[in-house]
Amino acid sequence: MSAEHHTHPTPAQYWKIAVVLAVLTAIEVAMFYIDRELGLGSLNALILITLALLKFVIVVGWYMHLRFEKPMLNRFFTAGFVLAISLYLVVLASLGVVVIRGG
């Protein structure tokens, strides 16, 4: 249909991406239990948020094909997402909510 389709991943690459996502999820769950034992606190939160962000970017970029779309759509989505996150972080900070608790 369009030139974009030529650059889309192959089914084999989609399977590999799924394996990466599964491994990242397994690490997340493992981190939950490691934190229970060792009380990593903020470090655990930082690792979990980084892993979630990584999974998020992989799904949006490869499965939703955003990295193969026109740059305008990519910028539109990224800017909106960053603004939305900023907005809610400001709200949470202004209400004094402690999102990340130390162990």
Partner: protein, 208 residues
């Protein structure tokens, strides 16, 4: 669709091409962006109340079944794989493959929903945590309930496409775009769950 777009000098179709992106796809991305704000508000609401001390009744974070929810998360994550394989099969003209992967996606979505129903039932029956127990429980049910509603709508759309494909023998180019739009919606539901699983389940700590 393509012959209409190329032959008819209709203003619609010129506008359609002005951004270089199909208007329906652009519309779906804008809709999904608005959904980010919607879920962002619900997640913020949960974070406001989940750790706040002084409420009566049990807190959701005290009773999460992490192994169970991890399996549910894995199931939903894998449904994104089957969705993208359905889209890929259609782009290769493999109609049987498209139907198979569409059905698999709907089935995995249904398994996730069944898990959520089980979780809610367990929380209500075993722990007596209802929507009205306290603001933390209310925020939890509203957030995860709305996400579940989105999954249910996605399953209905997937089964509709599967039914159309079965009845007509194949998906037309128009329905092919519909599959792409449903795919975007489905992946969105998945990425929202990625955030919910981390923020609500893995990082929440009850007060005290």
């Amino acid at each position: 669709m393509s012959d209409i777009a190329h032959e008819a000098p209709v203003a619609h179709h010129e506008e359609h091409e002005s951004t270089g992106i199909d208007n329906r796809k652009l519309g779906m991305w804008i809709f999904l962006s608005s959904e980010f704000l919607f879920f962002g508000a619900l997640i913020t609401n949960y974070l406001l109340y989940s750790n706040r001390a002084g409420f009566e009744g049990i807190y959701p974070a005290a009773i999460y079944d992490i192994p169970f929810t991890s399996v549910s998360s894995f199931v939903l994550l894998m449904s994104s794989l089957t969705m993208v394989l359905a889209h890929n099969a259609l782009s290769r003209g493999d109609q049987d493959g498209t139907r198979t992967w569409l059905f698999a996606t709907a089935a995995l979505g249904s398994v996730f929903l069944a898990g959520q129903v089980f979780e809610f039932t367990e929380f209500i029956v075993e722990y007596d945590m209802t929507l009205a127990t306290n603001p933390a429980a209310s925020a939890f049910y509203v957030l995860t309930g709305f996400h579940g509603t989105h999954v249910a709508i996605g399953v209905i759309m997937l089964l509709s496409l599967w039914g159309i494909s079965r009845r007509q023998g194949s998906l037309s180019e128009r329905h092919g775009m519909n599959l792409e739009l449903v795919g975007l919606y489905w992946h969105f539901v998945d990425i929202i769950w990625i955030v919910i699983f981390t923020v609500v389940y893995l990082l929440s700590v009850p007060p005290g």
